[in-house]
Symmetry: C4
Amino acid sequence: MSSVGVSSLGASEGSRDKIVINVGGVKHETHTSTLMTLPGSRLAQLVDTEKPPSELFFDRHPEVFSHVLQFYRSGKLHYPTNLCGVLLEEEFDFWGISGTDVEPCCWAAFRQNKDAVEALAQIDPSVMENDQSSHTRAWQPKIWALFDNPLSSVGATVTAVVSLFFILLSITAFSLQTYPAINPHQMYVVSADNSSENPVENLSALPRVLDAVELVCSLWFVFEFVTRAVSCPSKLSFFMTVMNIVDLLALLPWFFRWCSGSYCIQALGFLHVMRCIRVLHVFKLMQHVFSVRVLKHTLRASATALCTVPLMLFSCTLIFGTMFYYTEFEQLGSSVLDIPSGCWWAVITLTTVGYGDIYPVTVQGKCVAILCAMVGVLLIILPVPIIINNFIKFNSLLKTKHSMPRRKEKSRIPTSTSTA
Amino acid sequence: MSSVGVSSLGASEGSRDKIVINVGGVKHETHTSTLMTLPGSRLAQLVDTEKPPSELFFDRHPEVFSHVLQFYRSGKLHYPTNLCGVLLEEEFDFWGISGTDVEPCCWAAFRQNKDAVEALAQIDPSVMENDQSSHTRAWQPKIWALFDNPLSSVGATVTAVVSLFFILLSITAFSLQTYPAINPHQMYVVSADNSSENPVENLSALPRVLDAVELVCSLWFVFEFVTRAVSCPSKLSFFMTVMNIVDLLALLPWFFRWCSGSYCIQALGFLHVMRCIRVLHVFKLMQHVFSVRVLKHTLRASATALCTVPLMLFSCTLIFGTMFYYTEFEQLGSSVLDIPSGCWWAVITLTTVGYGDIYPVTVQGKCVAILCAMVGVLLIILPVPIIINNFIKFNSLLKTKHSMPRRKEKSRIPTSTSTA
Amino acid sequence: MSSVGVSSLGASEGSRDKIVINVGGVKHETHTSTLMTLPGSRLAQLVDTEKPPSELFFDRHPEVFSHVLQFYRSGKLHYPTNLCGVLLEEEFDFWGISGTDVEPCCWAAFRQNKDAVEALAQIDPSVMENDQSSHTRAWQPKIWALFDNPLSSVGATVTAVVSLFFILLSITAFSLQTYPAINPHQMYVVSADNSSENPVENLSALPRVLDAVELVCSLWFVFEFVTRAVSCPSKLSFFMTVMNIVDLLALLPWFFRWCSGSYCIQALGFLHVMRCIRVLHVFKLMQHVFSVRVLKHTLRASATALCTVPLMLFSCTLIFGTMFYYTEFEQLGSSVLDIPSGCWWAVITLTTVGYGDIYPVTVQGKCVAILCAMVGVLLIILPVPIIINNFIKFNSLLKTKHSMPRRKEKSRIPTSTSTA
Amino acid sequence: MSSVGVSSLGASEGSRDKIVINVGGVKHETHTSTLMTLPGSRLAQLVDTEKPPSELFFDRHPEVFSHVLQFYRSGKLHYPTNLCGVLLEEEFDFWGISGTDVEPCCWAAFRQNKDAVEALAQIDPSVMENDQSSHTRAWQPKIWALFDNPLSSVGATVTAVVSLFFILLSITAFSLQTYPAINPHQMYVVSADNSSENPVENLSALPRVLDAVELVCSLWFVFEFVTRAVSCPSKLSFFMTVMNIVDLLALLPWFFRWCSGSYCIQALGFLHVMRCIRVLHVFKLMQHVFSVRVLKHTLRASATALCTVPLMLFSCTLIFGTMFYYTEFEQLGSSVLDIPSGCWWAVITLTTVGYGDIYPVTVQGKCVAILCAMVGVLLIILPVPIIINNFIKFNSLLKTKHSMPRRKEKSRIPTSTSTA
Ligand SMILES: [K+]
Ligand SMILES: [K+]
């Protein structure tokens, strides 16, 4: 076969204008003309002379260069998935190629590692570990850790359990006081019917016991709050934390105890709800469970997207509530008489709770109800993929963050990129 | 060891009929006979002469060629997962090998990147960014963006919030008018009972206030609709959009106000439902949240598959409704007397709403109900994997689309595939 | 530095007992002693002579060999994830190494492709495409496709829609006949109360219309069934298919029409349920949707595992039903009087339907109910991961199966593994 | 172009201070100065002499070394994803590099295989296969397998089915005895109303039949328990297993039969619940299904994280229950009179059961209910990602564990890492 025939098939036997590029020991061969296709790049500058060199040596990554050379050959930059995108970008920079030239087919894989590193950096380190280096006095960190981080020591765990016990005790005591049989004075339930005529004899001592319990609980809560407020590393951030404001408000019901009247009862109700919110402190004891920490990050990251569900629910409630009103309002036997009631029905059907206090009786109303229940079932599963997607992402990120070593001595290694 | 013994073990020491194929600097060696196994290919043509060359040079990707050569050796084309499928197909084309020869075990990986590129191209770019280049007059684009894209400027966000406020105000005003106590004229509820004898005095002014509120709202809606219709880039596509038709219909209730009669009330109901659908404009404010955009694509792509759920629900409703009728109809105390009522019970049980207006009393009826509730629970989770699968797919695609650079200067680089 | 010092650090400058193994052009170097560590293998046999050769050539895959050589060096066989496991196994066979020697860390990746190929082969091809090559007469395949595969032609789609219309029509007609107002003869509802004294005049014609409709429907069903039975490719498999038996049974109600009595009504009920099951034919029209086909495979593969949910539900029902009975039975006001009623309550609570016909009134009963509702919520999500896992698997497999080319001309390529 | 110009672009034509490192036949070239950047490493020691060698040979993995050399060049250690992390760590150890120097971008991939191996090792092998090697007598293993492992033989499956039949029979018999019509002696329901005056004649024989059935069942259970206790491999672990304690307690009701009184009935209730728990033995028959085994591992691993759901439910119950009480208690018509009742309503709404025994009537109460139902819907999907994540993990691990060969002859291969 003649050399012409060989050449027509893309092959060559001679060595016309060939150049050997030795990168880290691996010898790549190509035509000089190939290197001229990317005018501004490092290699094009090197061969753009009258007498280009026949061999060049670079002390760089040989495998990455084979992909760089392929970019010269085909004009398309593909990304090898076995190499890290960060490494490739560094090498591309050396060869004078932009990472943005990567083809769309390889773009996702090219970004993958870089995105992961950026996401890792964004994870709030304060969530991972409790910073205890900004205290001014020696005893402060220990007291603060004792009350704030239940996993820091055995004493802290005991303190947390004791605190939780008092929270539950105070809620229980207050709840029991709302029983008419127990509390004949009806301090809280002023407008209730007069069933206090026949108080059971053995229950007459209970109100005083409950009062004593609540006094003890309140003393503990005041002690705990003052101790934490005094030992906290930053007063400002302490009083800006939601849970601490809740704790403060939950201390107040004691002072509203002896006042009465409708206004006072509503304030008491609000403060007592604060007391119940305080029970969320129980999750402090769960923070060492890895999945729970992942779930916390997931919910924080999904918060904005999860708002679509209440918005969707609100829109569907208005639409189905109005439809329900117009299909049912002529039915006098029906208890639906206005659009707000129709919306109440719609939301209870959409969330598949279905109390049964209002339900359609006409055929058109039943059709609206069927549609409403089906949309409700779909609405429930809508946030599932968002949560799962973020959970998988943060599970991987937090696992990496936990297992990754802290490299403090890393800086001693000097970078030695070009030492020709 | 003799050369024969070596040869019997697949090895050779000599250089009989060996050929060196230098691809981009990497020297591959094989037997000439190996290259003859694929008669039509480029290499087979090159060596199919009396005196085949002992060395050939190709300015191609060396790593891909090692897999091409393995195809000659074993007759099986495997796909290396660290290289992009698109790159491989280009190289395979050069060597005269079809991508369809890839083995089944490697087919999925081979297609992966190509499928991703095709899916990327199918994502409607108009969903990603608002096209604003087809306006004829200078003021049009600004006005249009002000009313249609709440995220284009601060003014646009304010306009969207104001518009949303008027929508909610008009819905609230109308809903309150359906209270019998508020609206003694009973304009809308003609057939309601005559409870308007004792209108509360301080409420008598409210109907006139509500009328005024609705007038203001209607003026705003007319102004907004006219402005948007005038400034829209294409009149045809404007009046073909579902939400714009809804907006137009929602303007009409004002004109049906003073007519009465059953027919008119039903028309009014339909138009008022339109007014409620208008509340979906709220999602315009959520379009910047990435997960919400992914969810939108997910739902659009899953729409056809999600139709199985209503179809399944419909079939199960008929089956369980009929079964329920035949197990319960002899029970006179039961309120189920016909198959449609049985179907109504079935759908309320299948969606786990369970109003409790109808429930089985016989043992067989309870067995049907248990079966029905269990099938319902399974039906609810049926669409979950479809939505999750599409969410993961579009999450990845949209992330790629967003981070990918727009390459406009790409065309300046000439392709230089074969320059031997 | 002396050669001894170099040697102590694992390096060598000389060429004592070194051997060069040229595999497909790539020259690997190692010590002869290294090759002796795996006595039975191909390379150990080649060098186990007095005077081992200093260079060997093999026309094999060079990259795989580098991993084989590493096995000689370290005694551990790791799997490179960029190469296909099937290719590796072929090469390992040549070098006399067993694939089972792969380390545990790489085993999952090694099996991956092989498992995928096996799973692909297990997918029933008859699900993918309708086999139409076993008909004896020329007109049979066309008729069969017309009635059995709605997507084969426009005519077949029309036939399917017409058939579905008749199914719905017959169900509607029958359902209306169960209305007491419409059907004063009370043929089906023998034991119902005598409310047929005042039949509405304009409804008196309806029963005869419904009878006529049902006659037309029955004629169509008989015609369709006979046509399909005659044109089916295999009589045996036709009458063994569940849906065809259902179709046959659904033809019978017509003959039970004029008989009465309790036994007859129950038979009629069973047959009418068959008629409703026939509505599942609607899914034939959905089979072209890819996700639906994946869902079908998913449910078939998950069937056994999904049985845990009813079993779990059954066990929990018994446990909670009994607990409920023992906590509530002394409460006379409660309607719960026996364990079966308790179980009925438990299952309705576990599935979160909650009719409200039975609910606990004692404190202990409420605690059981809370526990029951929580277990129910967990039971509902139990099958979700099973379904999702199988959906992801079959989604990938079916996508591969669909896009994979049918290679019929593959056999022309002879295998040329060892041509030394 | 002068050599200076070339050098300024990072290239070199000469061979000043270059060193060739031949690793397993692949020749890597670099500058001696590059190797000095990591002072303590093996290569730095080798070249840290007056006259460094110009070529070194190492019988190691060539591909891994190219990444090691890149660490010398750039000071950053990236991880190639096509090689196993365990292999890399071994090679890194040889070259004197710590695996902890891997960059954050590659850390996740580097740990992946190692984590998988560690997780594989943690899977309890006793869950995978029944250990039967610790029996003292010959007949013990067979008897034990017959009663404990239903899948070990056909006889064992029959035994398990028979046992399950007796369990269900005994539960059925006992449940029927709670019917007042069947059991006129009212032994269990002492405080029930006297409706036993008119016992149906044909039911009078049933109590005696039920007694006989229960006697037979009890005899079987005693026989089965004694046989299993005698044949068990370890008495201690047998009596520490939860299900065996349940079995033992379930034998006792027979002895409480003839005693009466409130205390005794409660004990009987507890023991009868044990009898129902015994029905969980049915899952022994499901253990061969792969997905069920994966689900078992998933639930065990997710147990701690799943505790968040009841905790969250408990907290939300307290918060919403208190809010409900304060919004509704003034409404006398409402049946809500104390906070515990409010909490009962809250939990039934949060789990979307919605009995309808208590529902809000005031506008504020309805707003609390809507919030409560929405939080409930979100609470239900909270554990889904945890379960899915663990399911996917264990599905992969168990699949690997099952398909992986047992390598017992592995130890015969000596490790031959450094044989220079
Ligand atoms: K309900
Ligand atoms: K419900």
